[in-house]
Symmetry: C2
Subunit: 345 residues, 2 copies
DNA sequence: TCAATCTGTGCAAACGTTTTAAATCTAATC
DNA sequence: GATTAGATTTAAAACGTTTGCACAGATTGA
């Protein structure tokens, strides 16, 4: 019979539970010989400490939680996969694991978060897709829960831990690159949902334009509901059919940029000869859609890894001032951008 | 002060712990009035039972586990996201949650599975990407662990629970469709790794061909290492540059089919005029790559939902005969297939 | 009036671990 | 040979929950 509990292991070794526990923990005060003997037996019998017992006394579960809101019939990118992979990488290095708690239809995400934390299943949580004003943040702060946000609030007097991608910088970089290529008339296809990253990226672009100071610069901004494919196409269409068409269009993220590319080729424009297009995220389809979308890699996995590291730090060292981290996206140049068309130079 | 534990809640209500516990569980023997009073207080104070305490006494954690092996620098599709979403959907309906345990570099997946189960963190596990011969299955059976496999072994005298996509049927269907369109010379781009789905799909195709009985039928099979992009391209190239070229090529999965499409257009073939291509999986890029890849939707999310339901069933009703479930993939017709070129008819 | 039944509640054990405080053993010192 | 200091080990409590069993009070039947 294989000892499955500490008690069984102890009686098999003719030691007390306490000694075995301490020996396994590598406690100094236990004789080296005993430690070795215990370690050997534990290995031999494949003893694995019960999570429940340990959890009960330590008050920690070793888990980090994240909610999973089921959306849409089918995921269009690998964001979720990349994110959990990154979290997993960051967590496992520090001996933690990840809980994915699905928010059922008609259930509130806040409730799920609360249960996760209050039941002790998770020592902390990661929240993603932060909106401009996000009740989850206030809620978690009020609750005194340990958490890290992937993304930022638009503005908040309260401090919290966050990791984010530097979209403002990326969009400024996109502008600089396109400006160098002779572009002067820009288009931005953005969304109407109140997500913070929308502001940050647009501000990054606008800031770069105004810093540049060239009076001939022009920026057309078109807005569309995020999940309405028809509206997206229409918005792209309008951007492309303006009396004076931009020579370079930036999509708030790749899906929008890809829509622009599709619409552009539908009306007979050649990319990048007639139009430059740049996206953000570097989803898989960006490489497949001709002629290959130039975009910024959002480094989702790295963000998640950072978030995991930060959260474990928050859990283990509470009471520190909030931590923040800006991850730099990387330009992934493909073939959808090029010099501005001649007549526009 | 908010009662956080049963004891506190009980003393606040002037009841015993036992009564409160039973009242919350909706036990018959507790007076209705008491039950209501307790429920109200619990709701009011936001009491959430501690997972650890419950787990310790019930022996169940309410978690289902899955390992996450970090592979490649970047995910190319949404498989992982779809799969965990499906699992989440299936689990949350039955009051369970998901643990994602990352397999760290140099760590064995078996070890992670063992810890997951033996520590009591997970009541059961789901394993994916089953190889022809997969040590995880034997291991879990020997261990007496409750598990469900997404995918099958090539052959096994031992029974276990599995959910799988019916790739054989899909490939047979692809053949039938292409045969109707006049195609007689087929190509299959497949992988060299010993994964069971490779056999099942290829057998499905070969079976349909032999059932058809047309002696003019021909099938070229080309094999390539799965993760070697260069080799994939080369294999596609060879398939396309054979002395007599197939008029229809089926990719074992979309990435391979997309590679075929890229290579085909590189050497000046027009799809579907000169060549029909069909894939499997329906990854996002399949819709973006011109002219749009005809493929089978692998219904990953549905598989995962089934797997979750099955696993919970296995956990709650042990000792039943093993369950199996074949999910039907759905043809997603786009523009990459069409009538066979004239000269071949 | 007393026993028997029923209804509602409480006591206490059990789950497996960690940890505080105390006990035992060993060796060394006087 | 007694005392002490140091080195190991152990007993017992605590964590929060569920649940078998027992108990008190009320109701019923004889």
């Amino acid at each position: 019979m294989r000892p499955k509990t500490l008690k069984e292991l102890a009686s098999h070794l003719d030691l007390s539970i306490a000694t075995v526990s301490r020996a396994l923990a590598g406690h100094e005060r236990i004789a080296q010989a005993t430690r070795d003997r215990v370690a050997k037996a534990a290995r031999e019998f494949g003893y694995v400490p019960s999570m429940a017992g340990r959890m009960l006394v330590s008050g920690r579960s070793g888990f980090v939680g994240m909610t999973l809101a089921v959306r849409g019939p089918k995921l269009v990118d690998s964001f979720l996969g990349e994110f959990v992979t990154g979290l997993g990488e960051g967590l496992t290095e520090r001996g933690n694991d990840l809980i994915l708690a699905t928010v059922a239809q008609g259930q509130s995400e806040l409730d799920v978060l609360r249960h996760l934390v209050d039941s002790g299943r998770a020592d902390g949580v990661v929240i993603t897709r932060i909106a401009e004003v996000d009740q989850r943040v206030d809620y978690l702060i009020d609750r005194g829960a340990r958490f890290v946000a992937h993304g930022r609030l638009l503005e908040s007097e309260r401090a919290y831990n966050w990791v984010d991608t530097d979209g403002a910088r990326a969009f400024a970089e996109a502008f600089d690159m396109l400006y160098q290529l002779g572009h002067r008339h820009f288009g931005l296809l953005t969304i109407s949902e109140p997500m913070t990253f929308r502001h940050l990226r647009q501000d990054g672009l606008a800031g770069a334009i105004s810093r540049c100071g060239d009076p001939s610069l022009k920026l057309d901004v078109m807005t569309t509901p995020r999940f309405d494919r028809g509206a997206c196409i229409q918005a792209a269409h309008r951007l492309l059919n303006a009396p004076e068409r931009p020579t370079a269009i930036i999509g708030l993220f790749d899906e929008l940029a890809l829509t622009v590319m599709e619409e552009a080729s539908r009306i007979g424009l050649s990319i990048p000869r007639d139009l430059s297009v740049i996206g953000f995220d570097n989803i898989a389809a960006a490489a497949y859609a001709p002629p290959g979308l130039t975009t910024f890699d959002a480094s989702i996995r790295e963000c998640a890894r950072e978030a995991a590291a930060m959260l474990v730090d928050v859990i283990e060292n509470p009471g520190q001032p909030p931590r923040t981290k800006l991850v730099q996206p990387m330009l992934t140049a493909r073939a959808s951008h090029g010099p501005a068309p001649r007549k526009h130079r």
